[in-house]
Amino acid sequence: MKNLFKSKGFREFLRVLIALAIGITLGFIITLFVSESPIEAYKSFLFGPLTRLNRIGDWLEDSLTLVLVGLAMCIVFTAGQWYIGAEGQMILGALISGVVILFVPLPPALRITLAFVVSAIVGFLWAVVPAFLKAYLNANELITSLMLNTIAIKAFEYFLKYYIMPEGSRTLTSARVPKDLQLPSFIPDIPILSSIRELWMKQTSVSIIVYIAIAAVIAVYYLLYKTPFGYELRTVGSNKKFARYGGININRTVLLAMTVSGIFAGIAGTHLTLAIHNRLIVGMSSGMGFEGVNIAILARLNPLLVPISSLLYGYMRAGAEVMERTTDVSRELVMVIQAVILLLVTAERLMPTIQQRIDHANEGNNINDGKIKGGINDI
């Protein structure tokens, strides 16, 4: 029991819980001021996403997108790069998936597979630009990736408007993706499950991306913590000078961090086109590429925690939507709560500092043993 309380994981968990509690309380206090019926409003925020099957579905679908972009951000942040180009990579992934699905004459299974592969490639390649600018011109990746996001979004709109939008259409959308080309439901089509499947599919479109996301989580975990490449990423992120001294090629590592992260952001784009929206539409990412930053930070850059932080974050998104639709409180309030939670989770000193002091004292006694004596060379 003592060990449990002392373990790092448990304390992290406790910290997130405390952050959540404070954030939700604060949110309620604000709701008291802005709403005519604050309790109703808050109830719809806290429990709304669970009240209907289709709302559960929406929550899960958004969470799956968040898992993929969250993983993308884990990779670049682990390498110490403030690269936030996932939005652009995702939107281009969505675009190219749409193009493949709508225009490439292949059988459905192949077409869907091709859409995934091509969007992964596009996400990968799109990061080459900021990576090269960083490596050879020392251009700040934060700025370049942000700029490239804008370029990607505008390119998306351009191609949609002039090449993809069906003639005579009045809205800026593509044709719908035919049913047989949408991602199949995650519930396998076997007799025992058929009634559940039918009920589920009527209300939601949670697709096989579930399995892809799970595989991606495991893959990124292995990539970061078990492979030489992951070692390079982590070392560059931990101390660049040390990495260089040790012989690691920093430019190459940075390039690969950004591009590999693009694979996951690109696949998230496919998910948007082939499962969530089922067509190309302006604003289809609803900013989730940026929310990947929050997901990764909430998960403390640990890929295995990304699904949890995505579900949590996705739940708040979903709750916000329900609250906005059914009450007089707008979703901006939820953004405040999200921000508070994020602040508290990232704050290093949220846990009682006394506990930390005790730990430090213990560590000090065990390891250092008061060994530094004599020698005045370093003054």
Binding site: K226, P228, G370, N377
Partner: protein, 514 residues
């Protein structure tokens, strides 16, 4: 006459037990230029930090102008008219010169900063003390000499009467140094008092009225500069020391492992820090570089290990010029490197001990197993090294930040030695670590040398260079000024003269011993 500054019996013991000042008495007269000299680690900077309120003395009294002072911070010292110009300038690069001068105490008009006054103040001060600056230039765009003048103006704007200059010439070209000296003389003529920290004895002779020498935290003496020669000062600085007794088997010098020819290096801001350096490293021999810090040692090591680009020359391993190679390629040629700055280069403190050990080998068998890193091999190897190098830690999965300085250095040494190098470049291998670890590391150096590794040892600790090395070269201002084929036959005094550029051998004299 009562001295302007009187530091009486100053002791300073840091929390980690390091004794930086031990019973130091130091006094400065009004209106003089007082040089404070000593080797690195002699305690000069600590003493000045105490006077400037940045450190509190463990014991002792500070008297300024006849009053006893208790400085809690440098703000108190500034109030007592003391100003300090640090070695690393503390300017805001994106502000103008004038803005930097007044920063923290800006002239105001109607609650806003009075921009005209800012410029005028700076201009007036600049004229009054002959410290030429461009008040409206952005600090980013001005050269080092002008930056230094801005620092001095900052202290003058705060009404400093006593100026402490911490190694002001270390970053200057000879021309800039001359300008600085002119400015210092003007300052003194106008009644200011200057304390000038340096280890360049020529400058002491040139500029100072009196000189105080420190060594190993103690005051050796204060003298009138005109009464003391450079040789005497060098002797006082280096002094006699007790050598750590190292058992060294007789040297068995092998083949030439590394040939350095006409190596030169020019820094990013255009200063030539290495000039035509020539030497060879032999298997089974330790070549020591003796020199006061800042005379090109850092650059030499970083060029040899591929971290900085050379401006000219060759470094041959066999027939291959490694100046073209990346750090990884150089390491693959079995050249290991113990870096001078442990915390920024030698380890990644947030990574685990294991991760720090494998940085030069994770991509090779047996540490790599197909697609993955072989955790088991890493763990076993790390445990072996922890035991062999007596690294004090419960296990290898802890971050390096949990270790003491000496144990961190053992992690570095364990990694570099276990790579079985043919050439080892060791820079300040025992700096700032405890006696036990120091001894251990020196023994290890001698041991791998006796097994045939060629070692280049760079150290600011002269006694270390002399006791560990087999052969010594002296480096002064990026040039080799002397070579001593048998380290045991050279005196510190003699070596000191070459390190400080007082004496110099010709290339012909040196050639056959390099």
């Amino acid at each position: 006459m009562r001295p302007l500054i009187d530091l009486i019996n100053i002791d300073k013991v840091y929390d980690n037990g390091v004794v930086a000042n031990n019973g130091v008495n130091f006094s400065v007269k009004k209106g003089e230029i007082h040089a404070l000299v000593g080797e690195n680690g002699a305690g000069k900077s600590t003493l000045m930090k105490i006077l400037y309120g940045m450190e509190k003395p463990t014991e002792g009294e500070i008297w300024v102008n006849g009053e006893q002072k208790h400085f809690n911070s440098s703000t108190d010292a500034i109030a007592a008219t003391i100003g300090m110009v640090h070695q690393n300038f503390m300017l805001v690069p994106s502000f103008t010169v004038a803005e930097n001068v007044v920063l923290g105490d800006e002239p105001r008009k109607n609650g806003l900063i009075d921009r005209d006054a800012v410029l005028n103040i700076t201009k007036d001060l600049s004229d009054q003390f002959g410290l030429f600056v461009q008040p409206d230039a952005i600090v980013n765009s001005i050269n080092v000499g002008m930056r230094q003048r801005v620092e001095i103006l900052k202290t003058l704007y705060r009404k400093a009467e006593i100026l402490i200059l911490d190694e002001p010439t270390a970053v200057l070209t000879p021309q800039e140094t001359d300008d600085l000296f002119i400015a210092i003389r003007i300052l003194v003529k106008q009644g200011k008092t200057v304390i000038f920290i340096t280890h360049k004895l020529r400058e002491v002779k040139e500029i100072s009225d009196r000189v105080t020498v420190m060594r190993h935290g103690k005051m050796i003496g204060t003298l009138d500069t005109k009464d003391v020669s450079r040789e005497q000062m060098a002797n006082m600085m280096v002094g006699r020391e007790v050598f750590l007794d190292i058992k060294k088997p007789k040297i068995k010098r092998g083949e030439k492992r590394m040939r350095v020819k006409n190596l030169s290096y020019v820094s990013e801001i255009g200063r030539q820090l290495l000039r035509n350096v020539n030497f060879n490293l032999y298997a089974g021999e330790i070549l020591g570089i003796a020199g006061v810090e800042g005379n090109g040692q850092t650059e030499l090591v970083e060029v040899l290990t591929g971290l900085k680009p050379a401006a000219g020359g060759t470094v041959l391993i066999g027939d291959c010029n490694i100046l073209e190679s990346t750090p990884r390629e150089i390491r693959l040629r079995k050249i290991a490197h113990i870096p001078e700055d442990r915390l920024s280069n030698g380890v990644a403190v947030r990574s685990t001990i294991e991760e720090n050990i494998i940085v030069d080998r994770y991509f090779q068998k047996p540490y790599r197993n197909g697609l993955f890193i072989n955790r088991k091999v890493v763990k076993t190897e790390c445990e072996n090294l922890i035991e062999k190098f007596s690294i004090l830690t419960p296990n290898g999965k802890l971050p390096v930040s949990s270790l003491s300085g000496g144990n961190m250095q053992k992690v570095v040494v364990a990694r570099e030695f276990s790579s079985e190098p043919e050439v080892l470049i060791a820079s300040q291998p025992t700096r700032g670590i405890d006696v036990g670890s120091t001894e251990f590391i020196r023994e290890q150096l001698v041991e791998i040398r006796s097994k045939g590794t060629a070692i280049l040892l760079v150290s600011a600790d002269l006694s270390e260079v002399m006791s560990v090395s087999d052969r010594i070269v002296a480096l002064y201002e990026g040039e080799i000024t002397g070579v001593f084929p048998d380290a045991s036959k050279v005196s510190e005094k003699e070596l000191g003269l070459y390190m400080l550029g007082v004496k110099q051998q010709t290339y012909e004299e040196m050639e056959k011993y390099l």
